[in-house]
Symmetry: C2
């Protein structure tokens, strides 16, 4: 059995959202599973002393246009959220807590978080929004609220972010297959070729 | 007759080289001409206060790997030059001088410059290398040497670089079709869709 593809992302990253809508079907075409790992891109930028694409000089307007155009290109619903970016500790911790119980549920939760932010435009850093998502998925809201503040859940997210930095992740999405790293939704065609050919 | 696609690039940019190997055939499939415009990416970075991808924190090793992998993906010969990057005033000025005489020759010259740098690994900022290219193409070396130092040729390159900044170019390659901008070789599929559909 081949190792799962590792898909690292931040819930507030537009290109991560686009990749999230594509990665499972792509992997399935090649008989691979995908391990989804949300991380904190803010911590990664802080580590490298870099800034997100929207804050890089000259790139703001182009990026906004490219997010929307790339979504249309991939036929994915997308609307730029009014509040951008937002902190993603809460959904990321909730994801890892769910993952410990039910991977399929955690995956549905992750999709729901992305779509709540990038389709519905709701602020996923707000507790009310998180509780709404948990209600939709039949997750106990009290247990979720408590898990988010749990030290073990906090530690897990910190460890995963540190592990992302350790493998060289400097931007999102960051996809790894058999030790080969692919940065960006625009590298999905290369990832697919890699899976088809076993490396090229 | 539709306006030509504008292809802006720097002769020392690996992704520009990859796009240069693809852009004419892509445009031809949609009945479009391409206006090639070398510019000085260093001046653009200076304008925005940015640095090339290879000097962005954390991105050096990934970029090297991605240049080569992207070349293999597109089936384009590529070898990372030992000296990188190099100043490209000389070939860019020579290009504009040739363009004023013979567009087809200027295009062949541009291809030859890219391949001399990214396949043969020779330093295209050196006069000897430039003279070698001109000899290959049957260009008068004395006229070329003189043109490179000509104030009109220098001014032309400066104007084209300023024009690139004015349309928002912050990186290379930068491809514009009917006012829509595409940054990067990885946007060629979106460019092609744009040409097919007249915008999406």
């Amino acid at each position: 059995m081949a190792e799962p593809i590792v898909f690292r992302f931040d819930f507030a990253s537009p290109y991560s959202y686009l990749a999230a809508e594509k990665i499972d079907a792509l992997a399935e075409r090649h008989g691979r599973a995908v391990a989804w790992k949300p991380v904190l891109l803010g911590a990664i930028f802080k580590h490298f002393g870099t800034v997100p694409v929207m804050r890089q000089p000259g790139m703001h307007d182009y990026s906004l246009r490219d997010f929307a155009r790339s979504a249309r290109f991939h036929d994915i619903p997308f609307r730029m959220p009014m509040r951008f970016p937002v902190a993603t500790q809460v959904p990321a911790r909730a994801y890892y807590w769910l993952l410990g119980q039910d991977e399929e549920l955690a995956r549905r939760f992750a999709h729901c978080v992305f779509r709540t932010y990038f389709v519905d435009g709701r602020d996923i850093s707000e507790s009310a929004v998180m509780l709404n998502i948990s209600a939709k998925l039949g997750v106990d809201p009290v247990a979720l609220s408590s898990a988010i503040e749990n030290q073990a859940t906090k530690d897990k997210l910190r460890q995963e972010t540190d592990a992302a930095i350790a493998v060289g992740m400097f931007g999102a999405p960051w996809i790894t297959v058999d030790g080969e790293h692919f940065w960006g939704t625009d590298r999905l065609p290369q990832l697919e070729r890699w899976l088809e050919t076993g490396g090229f």
